[in-house]
Symmetry: D2
Subunit: 280 residues, 4 copies
């Protein structure tokens, strides 16, 4: 499907600073038809590939400015497959690819080591990894209240499992932490999302099942086939929209994601059916 | 310097399980003269390279066994340089290599985002990054009590900065978190350590200064030039000695590190002098 | 019922210190037939009544001693009523006695303010306060593993609700926190407990329902009518066995509780029946 | 000194609810010359004395209402003594009055048990309890940034000691926790405060030194002799302005405190001088 995505970020820069942005559509597994990046006042942005995940980053060395404006636009063909999931095999940890292993360990916002008993008490009875992830995703959907402003950048899965309120990032972190506590590799996924209201960046998560990464979204806010991937990582600490080093105030952001030339038959995962979506 | 290192781990395995061990001496920047790995009962170990750090891992698929014994021995020439540190430049974040960037972000045990004000209040006045790391390392040494058993696998830098007791792992996590809070990349370093009493694996940390990784150890328990590196990572979640998936009881470990054929002139970093040690 | 209770505590005192003990059987709602307190080396113990709860405390000013031994023995007639609970009324907060109000608020180990959504999601559907407390007590019993040594003096209800392991104190804290999150006053209850294995002090909790304090024990380790009350409080911070100020090492404790002259028909609360026990 | 204090609170009540307010000036140690309470729509408020502290509470059973408005006004003669503090004696714990003892223990927001080493490392060298409290109050003043909106109702001393930002409540909690970690009884103190900008309720803390409660305020925002006491407690959980049980939205509050007929010679405690203020 072809989408037009836009992100416009504004900052007030008060001292010489560095900004590292993760707003570019990923060029892995999806096709970027066209893209532009406009920075005002004009400065040179360095594009990098993140060391571990291969995410696209841009790095800016900025000078003090009342209004620093960064506008990214792209036309992207996202790429996904909707798959019927059968014959689910338990992950054989000893044979996992080494680039999947890190997603089994606890991370900053996903303290899976503290959730081991809870996850197994709640979802351990399910008969395979796919059903476990479906069940935990649905449990989050039913029990965690989507509540803007209820959490902040320090909120982690350990908080959300008990406080049961949060935003998409918190839903994703809790899903990841529960997966890892059940010995299922899981990672954070951010992107542009078609039909998200209010429009913003979105976050959900992928679980590694039958040798492939499948996408899950406990918020149920958007169709799963309307995602344009920006980045993956162990959690939001790996895939923040912006990392800022210096004295910079965030002013505003505007994000959009529109369908270009087709209608989309929305795919929403049903927790009782054997279909899932993969973006890799 | 040439060292003989040994690690003998014993487990009781109660169900089919996977064990991933990080006990092999690194083969980067140091020379492995000889090494053996003996597993009893005999099973095949798969050696892997960790995806991000390039650490050596071995992966074991184990069957139930009263006594699973794993013995690693190696003769290793460690490799280090003691350097005079002059003309310390502040890290230019926008130009950091992409494989250094991840060490600026908060991680599971090193919640640098929560320590920003504290770190800057305590060490921000120091005139460059090297002096900051020296000062924070010395502060940890003076204020945190080395106390076996006072902490566990859930203890993080956020706890240690206040509770002020812990073991080498906790000292390292606090050092790393304070560095990152000061916008200095820092990572966890584990290895064998000559003269460590009681003998065990050791952990300390590296900070990225003037484009190179320098080693710091807030415990001051061992000479800094008697380390044989096993692994680096963002924190202990990346570089655990063992990750176990299944029903396995730890029984015992015995670790040693002996100097083979020379005498060692011990190097201990002094927080007021301009010398540091690098293992890369 | 008449019980003989004993507690023998041993300490090594390394500096002039103060010890405040809460080991005396309460003299409210139960009859102390006989009691003795022997301290060796001999020192004078001052008995006090705690300011808020009216618990009996003894305060000792101790000098350095290799072996400080404190032995308390008593013959006590405990007093309880087993009641059928019908027509449960919701607590009218605006009319609660002022000495019940404090038990609605969060306390050190019972952070009910963080458990509001979880408690209401899990137990809010039950049709009255009694059924809610029965249900939450039973949920704790089913999901939290009784595991000696799994927790320490810093563990709180916020931890236990997620980590799902602990000892009697943790079971009690979680019960209290969930009650308060449901706007049901609840308090900590410590005492001697008949048939507790291994023998030790016990902790459980009381909830305020229909204008009376009812006892609940999520551990299900002992009959509810074999309790000899020592103290109540908001949580363990109010009702610790010992508060020590100075350099004193705990050496050992031995606790016992024996039935004197009768057989006891054990009462265990069943979470589906309308009976409860009250000690006030 | 005579002050006129006012508090006007507005709520939107969405269901039958209970509200317990702590906005009345205390009638202990100060003289209430005149006071009025107006509630609109008119309902009967029940005045109570809190069980433990003797604070004045009013309890309201409220019905759904678009605008519930509660207005309290009073003319109060506050009462304080400025004292020279000499010959400071260490608290003899074994002889403390039983109503002072609870202020030595950890509470919800003041986890003194976790701050023991830190407090003693930082302030243990001071030669008596008064100097310790002066030093810790001054340290908080220097290191914790007063930042509206940086914290919420879950923030505790354990957070503030590390995150080093907060509002008056957080400054008070940290002061209390550090005192208790040094074995100095300390409690939370709320009131109206003359010259506070912006006008609001204020919070600070009292420490028990030489057998009396002395007032400390690490914010240094107001003169210490312009306080009109509302309540004391172990921490904010005991002395909240409002405890609400039901579906009630806070709309606004307006608070003022004016000097009636005299000029005030402001008293600000200096951390290096031997003067302190007592409100009891």
């Amino acid at each position: 499907m072809e989408f037009e995505v836009k992100a416009k970020l504004k900052y007030k820069v008060k001292s010489d600073s560095s900004i590292i942005l993760s707003i570019h559509a990923s060029d892995k597994y999806q096709k970027i038809v066209d893209e532009t990046l406009i920075i005002s006042p004009k400065i040179v942005a360095t594009e990098m590939e993140s060391a571990w995940e291969g995410n696209r980053l841009i790095s800016l060395a900025v000078k003090p400015a009342e209004n620093l404006s960064i506008t990214y636009k792209a036309i992207v063909n996202n790429s996904f497959k909707i798959k019927e999931i059968r014959n689910v095999r338990e992950a054989d940890i000893a044979k996992l690819p080494s680039d999947v292993l890190p997603y089994l360990y606890p991370s900053r916002y996903c303290q899976s080591d503290k959730l081991y008993r809870l996850a197994n008490n709640m979802f351990g009875y399910k008969k395979n990894d796919f059903e476990k992830v479906q069940a935990l995703t649905y449990w989050i959907y039913l029990n965690v209240e989507y509540l803007s402003g209820s959490t902040d950048s320090e909120t982690s899965a350990y908080d959300t499992v008990t406080e049961q309120a949060g935003v998409c990032r918190d839903f994703a972190h809790l899903g990841i932490a529960l997966c890892r506590a059940l010995t299922i590799p899981a990672r954070y996924f951010t992107g542009y999302a078609y039909l998200l209201q209010p429009q913003d960046f979105h976050a959900c998560f992928e679980a590694y099942i039958n040798g492939q990464w499948l996408l899950f979204d406990a918020t149920k806010l958007v169709p799963l086939n309307g995602m344009i991937k920006i980045a993956t990582g162990r959690d939001a600490a790996d895939a923040a929209v912006a990392n800022i080093f210096g004295d910079v105030d965030f002013v505003s952001s505007a994000v959009s994601c529109d369908l270009v030339d087709q209608s989309l038959e929305p795919f929403y995962a049903d927790h009782e059916q054997n279909f899932a979506i993969s973006y890799t």
